[in-house]
C-alpha cells in the first residue's frame, strides 16, 4: 500500500519498450497504481486527459509529440494542474534539463536511472 494512503495513480510514456517495461517494474514495486503505459507522446497526453493521474513519468524524446510538448500541453489545461510530471531523459546537458523544468515539469531524472532508486523515490513521497 502507498504510505500516503489511497491510490497514487501513475501514467508512464516511453517509446523504448525495454525502458518502458523497466519503469513499469519500478512503479509496480513502489506499490503505486499504473493506470496507463504509452509508447508515444500523443497517446500519453490522451491517457493523462482521461485518467488525470497523480504523476506522469514521461520520456523526453518520443516520436510525434515529445515529453516536453506533452508537458506544455498539460500546463495549458487547468484541469491537469494537479498532475505532477517527472521527465526521464538520456539528454543530460544542462540546457535540456532547464528546458524541461521551464516547460512545466516538476522533476527531471537523467538516464540511466536505477529502478531501485526510482521505486524508493515513488514510495517515500516523491519529493
Amino acid at each position: 500500500m502507498h504510505p500516503m494512503g489511497g491510490s497514487y495513480r501513475v501514467v508512464i510514456a516511453d517509446d523504448d519498450v525495454d525502458i518502458r517495461e523497466l519503469v513499469e517494474i519500478a512503479v509496480s514495486r513502489a506499490g503505486v497504481e499504473l493506470v496507463a503505459s504509452a509508447g508515444d507522446g500523443k497517446s500519453a497526453l490522451d491517457a493523462i486527459r482521461s485518467f488525470v493521474p497523480d504523476l506522469a513519468i514521461l520520456d523526453v524524446a518520443m516520436p510525434e509529440m515529445s515529453g516536453l510538448d506533452v508537458v506544455r500541453a498539460m500546463r495549458t489545461d487547468e484541469s491537469l494542474d494537479s498532475v505532477r510530471v517527472l521527465l526521464l531523459s538520456a539528454s543530460v546537458d544542462e540546457a535540456t534539463m532547464a528546458g524541461g523544468i521551464s516547460a512545466g515539469a516538476n522533476w527531471y531524472f537523467p538516464k540511466p536511472f536505477s529502478p531501485k532508486e526510482l521505486s524508493a523515490w515513488l514510495s517515500i513521497g516523491r519529493e
Partner: protein, 600 residues
C-alpha cells in the same frame, strides 16, 4: 698603367674623358725631341759645306761633333722604343751639349753663330720636372763652352772672351729658367685638368651606378607591385578592407565584394566600415569597453571596433557583417592598424573570414554528439537497469559466481557510460557550452573525497595511496563537481599507470601562485617527446599503448579544460621508468585561514 686600369672599368660614357687624360699626360718621345737637334745640325752642316766664308777652323771637331749628335739621335731612337727606357731620355741632350759644343767649336766657338744650336738641348733639358734641370742646362752649356776652348787649345784670354762665355751662360741659364718655370706651370695645369677629369669620370661612374641601382629598384618595386596585386586579387575567400582613421574605406578587395556585395568603385572613398556592421553589436562592444576615446568622434562603435588595434594589439573576434540587402554574415574579423613611415597611425585593416560554414559544421557536430550521446545512453539505461533488477531479485537469488559475472557486465557498462559522458563533455568544451556552477569551496575536501573514492581501486591494484594536506585550508572559487572530476581523473590515471607495489601521492600546497595540487606516481612514466601532446584529445602515450593500459585519451583533455575554465594551469613532469607528476594550480580566493593539522 694607371690609365689602362681605369680604362678597363670605364664605359663608353667616359671615353672622351679617357682620351683627354691620355693626351694631357703624354710627352713627345725622345726621338721626336731629338729631331730638332738633328735637323738643325744637318742644316748647319750643309751651310758650312756650301756657303763660302763659313769654312771650319777645325774640320775634325765639326765632323766629330756631328757624329756625336747623330749618335745621340740613335740613342734617342732606341730610348723611344720602350716606355721603361724613356726615363733615361735626359742623357740625350747631355750628349748633344758635347756634340753641338764640338760642332760650334770647329767653326769659331762662342763667337760662332752656330753656338746658338746649344739652345736646343738647353730647351729640352729645362722642360724636366724640377729646378735641378736648370742646373743641368747650365752645366751642359758650360761644358759646351769648355769643349770649344779645349778644341782651340787655349783659355779665354781677353775680357771679350770672358764676356762672351758669361753672356752665353747667362742666356742659357735665363732660357732654361724660363722654360723650366713655364713647363712647371704647364705641368700643374695638366695635373689640375687631369684631376678635374678624374673627378668628372668618378662622378659619371657614380651616376652610372646610381642609374643601375635605380633601374634595379624599379624592377624590384614592379615585381613587388605585381606580387601584391596578384595576392590582392587572389584573396577571394577573405574580405580585406582598409580604412583611414575615421573608418572611411580606402581599400576593398575582391573577397570583400564576394562576401558583402558592392565592389571597390562603390565603396572606396565613399562608404565607412561601420556601414557594414550591426549597429547594436558595435554599441554593445563600445559599452563593454566603456566608450573608448578612439581616434574618431564619428562613431563610438568604430572606436570600439578598432580599440585593441589602436593600442597596438592585433585582435580577432567574431562580428556580424551586414550586406546592403540587410542579410547578416557571421565573420571572424582581425583588426590591425596601418602606420606611416614615422609610425603614426594612418588607418586600419580589417581581414575577415566568413564563418557561416564553420558555424554550421560546429552546430552539426554538436547535434551529432548530442544524438550519439542520447542514442548510446538509452540502451545503456536498459542494460544497467535490467542488470540491477537481476542482482536485486530476491525471489531468484544469484549464485556468487553469477554475481561476479554481473559485476563485470555492470563495470563495463559504467565504463561505456563514462566514455559517453566524456565525449559529450569534450564537445561541450569545444562549443563553449561548458558552464561552471561555481562557489567558494575548500579544495582539501575535494582532494580527500578523490582519495577516498580511489582507495578501493588502489587497494585492489596493490598501490599505496598517500594524501598530504597543508596545515591551512585552500579556498578556491569553482565547480565542486568539475574539480572533483579533474582530481579523480589524475588520481585514477596515476593508479592505472603504476605497477603493483608502487605509490601514488596526492598533495595540496598553498603557494604564492595559488593552490597547487600534485599527483605523483612511481609508474612507467611518459617519454619527454610526448609531454606536449599529452593534453590533446585522443592522444595516448606510447607507454600506455605498450603496456595495454585501457583508455581513449580524453581524461587529460577534460582535466585541462576544467582547470583552464577555473583560470588555473596544468603542468606535468615525467621520467620514463621512474614516474610522473601532474600538477594543477588554481587561484586562491583569499588568504586561507590557518587551521591546525587534523582539525578539519
Amino acid at each position: 698603367m694607371a690609365f689602362d686600369r681605369q680604362g678597363v672599368t670605364m664605359n663608353k660614357l667616359s671615353d672622351s674623358v679617357r682620351v683627354m687624360l691620355f693626351e694631357g699626360r703624354a710627352d713627345p718621345s725622345p726621338f721626336v725631341k731629338q729631331s730638332a737637334a738633328i735637323i738643325a745640325l744637318l742644316v748647319s752642316l750643309a751651310a758650312v759645306l756650301v756657303v763660302p766664308g763659313l769654312e771650319p777652323t777645325h774640320p775634325s771637331a765639326v765632323w766629330v761633333g756631328a757624329a756625336i749628335v747623330v749618335a745621340a739621335t740613335v740613342v734617342a731612337f732606341v730610348l723611344s722604343q720602350s716606355q721603361g727606357l724613356a726615363r733615361y731620355a735626359s742623357i740625350v741632350p747631355l750628349i748633344d751639349f758635347v756634340g753641338l759644343g764640338l760642332f760650334a767649336a770647329g767653326i769659331g766657338g762662342v763667337y760662332s753663330n752656330f753656338f746658338a744650336l746649344i739652345i736646343l738641348p738647353v730647351l729640352w733639358i729645362a722642360t724636366g720636372d724640377g729646378r735641378r734641370f736648370v742646373g743641368y742646362a747650365i752645366v751642359g752649356t758650360v761644358q759646351a763652352i769648355t769643349v770649344g776652348f779645349a778644341v782651340s787649345g787655349s783659355l779665354p784670354e781677353t775680357a771679350s772672351d770672358w764676356f762672351a762665355c758669361v753672356i752665353a751662360t747667362i742666356l742659357a741659364t735665363l732660357t732654361a729658367a724660363i722654360v723650366n718655370e713655364l713647363s712647371s706651370q704647364s705641368r700643374k695645369q695638366i695635373r689640375a685638368i687631369n684631376s678635374l677629369a678624374e673627378d668628372k669620370e668618378r662622378m659619371l661612374q657614380r651616376t652610372v651606378e646610381y642609374a643601375a641601382q635605380l633601374q634595379d629598384s624599379e624592377a624590384r618595386f614592379r615585381a613587388y607591385d605585381r606580387m601584391f596585386r596578384g595576392v590582392w586579387s587572389a584573396v577571394t575567400e577573405q574580405s580585406v578592407i582598409g580604412t583611414d582613421v575615421t573608418g572611411l574605406i580606402d581599400a576593398w578587395n575582391p573577397g570583400a565584394a564576394k562576401i558583402l556585395g558592392p565592389n571597390a568603385q562603390d565603396t572606396e572613398d565613399k562608404r565607412y566600415i561601420f556601414d557594414f556592421h550591426v549597429g547594436e553589436e558595435l554599441e554593445n562592444r563600445a559599452r563593454e569597453l566603456n566608450y573608448p576615446p578612439g581616434e574618431t568622434v564619428l562613431n563610438p562603435g568604430f572606436s570600439a571596433l578598432v580599440e585593441s588595434a589602436r593600442l597596438g594589439n592585433a585582435e580577432s573576434r567574431e562580428w556580424s557583417y551586414v550586406r546592403d540587402d540587410g542579410s547578416l554574415v557571421p565573420v571572424q574579423l582581425s583588426v590591425t592598424k596601418r602606420v606611416d613611415e614615422a609610425g603614426v597611425t594612418v588607418g586600419y585593416l580589417f581581414v575577415a573570414s566568413d564563418v557561416t560554414q564553420a558555424r554550421e559544421v560546429s552546430r552539426l557536430k554538436d547535434e551529432f554528439v548530442g544524438l550519439i550521446s542520447h542514442e548510446l545512453r538509452t540502451p545503456l539505461s536498459s542494460i544497467l537497469g535490467y542488470l540491477e533488477l537481476m542482482r536485486d531479485d530476491e525471489d531468484n537469488p544469484l549464485s556468487p559466481e553469477h554475481i561476479k559475472y554481473l559485476g563485470v557486465a555492470e563495470r563495463n557498462a559504467h565504463r561505456l557510460l563514462r566514455l559517453v559522458g566524456d565525449l559529450l563533455f569534450t564537445a561541450q568544451v569545444d562549443s563553449g557550452k561548458f558552464a561552471l556552477d561555481a562557489h567558494d569551496l575548500v579544495l582539501d575536501e575535494i582532494i580527500s573525497a578523490a582519495v577516498e573514492s580511489a582507495r578501493p581501486a588502489a587497494d585492489a591494484a596493490g598501490i599505496s595511496l598517500l594524501e598530504l594536506l597543508p596545515d591551512r585550508m585552500a579556498v578556491v572559487h569553482g565547480d565542486a563537481l568539475r574539480l572533483g572530476q579533474a582530481v579523480d581523473n589524475l588520481v585514477s590515471n596515476a593508479i592505472k599507470f603504476t605497477p603493483r607495489g608502487g605509490t601514488v601521492t596526492i598533495a595540496l600546497d598553498c603557494t604564492e601562485r595559488g593552490a597547487v595540487v600534485t599527483v605523483r606516481d612511481t609508474g612507467m612514466g611518459i617519454a619527454a617527446s610526448e609531454l606536449d601532446k599529452l593534453f590533446s584529445r585522443f592522444f595516448r602515450a606510447s607507454t600506455a599503448t605498450k603496456n595495454a593500459v585501457p583508455g581513449v585519451g580524453l581524461g587529460l583533455t577534460i582535466t585541462k579544460a576544467i582547470v583552464t575554465a577555473h583560470h588555473g594551469e596544468m603542468g606535468v613532469e615525467s621520467e620514463e621508468g621512474v614516474g610522473t607528476c601532474f600538477s594543477l594550480t588554481l587561484p586562491l580566493v583569499s588568504e586561507p585561514a590557518f587551521v591546525t593539522v587534523g582539525a578539519a
